[in-house]
């Protein structure tokens, strides 16, 4: 193509070039807008981290590493330690997963494999409704209904039943307060159950029918199909669902605040009162007077941030490893 021809083209297509220029401008603007949105996320995250570290510096400076291991929590003498809150956060979340994960998988298996069609919709809708209940409602319900019931039924039974069994009698030691670590775990389990159930159900539905049918064809039972075909195929998704649920359980605030008992103490018994990081912050931030008190609460926030970060990182690592194994 010669220069002359090209310039002819340009002259002839002057309007076209302008239009193209306009498109290019639009493209650049679009690029800038989306890119800055993405950068804003990074800036926000960075801002949160910086302000958390800045806010917690006085407390961490004063107490040092002992902040993580100390059980002291005295606003009057300004001695603060995060151990009971960290312990409560991890234990309630762990117990909640222990209850909710098997139940959630069970629900999902039933819904995808065993459930008669008439029941499938009502149960599915019920799970979604359960997921939609605001956490404050769970808190009120837990405090006014669940805790008195547990105090009168399950807790005395556990205390009496395991009274003579070593180790377990410490784990289920009285008195039955109704509210406490165990009750908070049960509430958390109910709250994360729909999450686990619905993710697991979606994941189970991705299994190609041909795989299952082949297994049934060689005479496998339903249990064998679940265990040897569906479970290995969906492992990644299941772990993802559980990790998401763990993330929610770790940060859950209001419902737990109602039923955990707010005691800054580590009890051997899971029936005893305790506290979690988010419950402590929600309870005490408004009345925290004095720099050290506020700073200690912000330091608790930083600890929760780090815990959540590690849970996410661990789940990513786990997922990556499972993916690699599947690739083989």
């Amino acid at each position: 193509m010669t220069e002359a021809v090209l310039s002819d083209h340009v002259k002839a297509g002057g309007a076209r070039a302008r239009a193209l220029k306009g498109f290019k401008l639009g493209d650049v603007a679009f690029h800038v807008v989306t890119k800055s949105s993405a950068i804003a996320v990074l800036l926000l995250l960075g801002g949160v981290i910086v302000s958390l570290i800045h806010g917690s510096a006085p407390a961490l400076g004063q107490f040092g590493f002992a902040f993580l291991t100390s059980q002291a929590w005295n606003p009057v003498t300004e001695q603060f330690g995060a151990a009971p809150a960290i312990y409560g956060t991890l234990v309630t979340s762990f117990l909640a997963l222990l209850i909710a994960a098997p139940m959630g998988f069970g629900i999902a298996v039933f819904l995808t494999e065993l459930c008669p069609h008439v029941l499938r919709r009502p149960i599915g809708v019920a799970i979604e409704l359960l997921a939609g209940i605001p956490s404050i409602i769970y808190g009120i319900w837990g405090m006014f209904i669940l805790a008195p019931v547990l105090q009168a039924t399950l807790q005395p039974w556990l205390i009496a039943g395991f009274a003579d069994v070593p180790v377990l009698n410490d784990l289920f030691a009285g008195p039955p307060y109704g509210i406490g670590i165990a009750t908070a775990s049960i509430i958390l389990a109910i709250m994360i159950l729909p999450l686990i159930a619905s993710i697991s159900r979606d994941v189970f539905e991705t299994v190609p029918p041909v795989l299952k049918e082949a297994a049934y064809g060689i005479g496998c039972t339903k249990w064998e199909v679940m265990r040897s075909i569906v479970a290995p195929y969906t492992g990644v998704g299941l772990v993802g669902g559980v990790m998401l649920a763990l993330g929610r359980a770790l940060g859950e605030t209001m419902a737990v605040t109602f039923v955990i008992g707010n005691a800054h103490k580590i009890h051997a018994s899971i029936l005893g009162p305790g506290t979690t990081i988010s419950a402590t912050i929600a309870n005490e931030f408004t009345e925290a007077d004095g720099a050290m008190y506020t700073s200690s609460l912000i330091a608790l926030g930083l600890v929760l941030f780090i815990i959540t970060f590690f849970v996410l990182a661990a789940s990513r690592l786990l997922l990556a490893r499972i993916k690699r194994q599947e690739g083989r």
Binding site: V48, A72, N74, P75, V76, T77, M143, F144, A147, P148, Q151, A152, G174, P175, P176, Y177, G178, I179, G180, G251, T253, G261, N262, A263, H264, P273, S278, I281, A282, N283, E284, F285, T286, E287, D289, G290, G301, L304, F305, T308
Partner: protein
């Protein structure tokens, strides 16, 4: 995470907005007298047109805020000692008194049926008495049918003047309590559940079978929660009534208490309720804003003159007349502006 920051932002927003809304008089502190201060402020506003903004953030917060000079007055249930007042340049006086009662939730036991003495109460809160049919409790209540229901102790999760007075009483009646726990606005509780504020303790006790807690009398009365009688210093059983609170208050020797430092727990007298408490106001001796402190003193003077009826209606005990006279003298002699001019223009 996001919840915490939302909360922090809200708190910041409220703190930021408050001064703009505040009337000339602003105060902060104890939750225990909040109902009566709110009532007085309301009546005062209708009569004089002057408002009062009181934030019930707890006694500890009240002390810190007045020392930081962010409010006109601070309010506390835990009086400051004379040397602390001196150090921070503060004047302190008692404004009103009230009673603290043990509240209980035992099946089949109503108000004033159960009686406890100081030793038993201390042992319950130490976790040494674990069930309601413990011999120590049965001995005090031979006519009550008590089961082996485990005792659930409920205490405050926040720093509180109510806690200060309650633990002060326990420390006075139990050497064990004094050496193991001590008394302060927040202590390291050996056992129990914690709840925020008088309201929180009242709620938790209502919902927990076999529980015992402690609240300011008005909270027990208004929420119709069963409370226990106590055995006082003279060994007599008393019920928490206005008369019993007044009997305890009458014995207090305010004249010989520097800075009005006076804790009214475990007072002698046949009719005295053992856990009675005064609640205090703190202002700066040499305020930077003399006009605001002058307005505040006008309000408290008005409350002394006209507020007794409203106080009694809410189950608080007004200060005796002779004490009010002493407080007026304190105002008229000790609170001065930078120019040396008296701030209080009463009488």
């Amino acid at each position: 995470m996001s919840k915490m920051f939302l909360r922090a932002t809200l708190v910041a927003a409220i703190i930021g907005v408050a001064p703009a809304l505040a009337a000339d008089i602003s105060g902060a502190g104890a939750t225990f007298p909040y109902p009566i201060y709110a009532k007085w402020a309301d009546s005062y506003k209708t009569q004089t047109g002057n408002g009062l903004n009181y934030q019930s953030i707890g006694s500890g917060g009240g002390i810190k805020q007045i020392i930081a000079n962010t409010v006109t007055f601070g309010a506390t249930d835990k009086p400051l000692k004379a040397e602390e007042l001196e150090k921070n340049g503060l004047v302190q006086w008692p404004q009103v008194m009230g009673g603290i009662v043990p509240i209980i939730n035992i099946e089949g036991v109503a108000s004033e049926q159960l009686v406890l003495d100081g030793t038993a109460l201390a042992k319950i809160f130490l976790g040494e008495i674990k069930t309601w049919n413990d011999p120590a409790i049965v001995k005090l209540n031979p006519n009550l049918k008590l089961s082996d229901t485990p005792i659930a102790v409920v205490h405050r999760s926040d720093g509180s003047g109510t806690t200060f007075n309650f633990t002060d009483y326990l420390a006075k009646v139990s050497a064990d309590w004094k050496s193991k726990v001590g008394s302060d606005a927040a202590v390291e509780w050996p056992v129990g559940l914690a709840a925020k504020g008088n309201e929180g303790v009242a709620n938790t006790v209502t919902n927990t079978k076999g529980s015992i807690g402690y609240v300011e009398y008005a909270f027990a009365k208004q929420n119709k929660i069963a409370f226990a009688d106590l055995v006082n210093k003279d060994g007599k059983r008393v019920a928490p009534t206005m008369d019993a609170f007044q009997a305890a208050a009458a014995n207090a020797d305010w004249a010989n208490a520097p800075g009005y430092y006076q804790i009214l727990t475990n007072q002698p007298g046949e009719k005295s309720w053992p856990i009675t408490a005064a609640t205090f106001i703190l202002v700066h001796k040499q305020p930077t804003d003399t006009a605001a402190v002058g307005e505040a003193l006008k309000f408290f003077d008005w409350a002394f003159k006209n507020g007794a009826k409203e106080a009694e209606a809410l189950d608080y005990i007004p200060m005796p007349d002779n004490v009010i006279g002493m407080i007026r003298t304190t105002w008229a002699t000790e609170i001065k502006g930078v120019d040396g001019k008296l701030v209080f223009q009463g009488n």
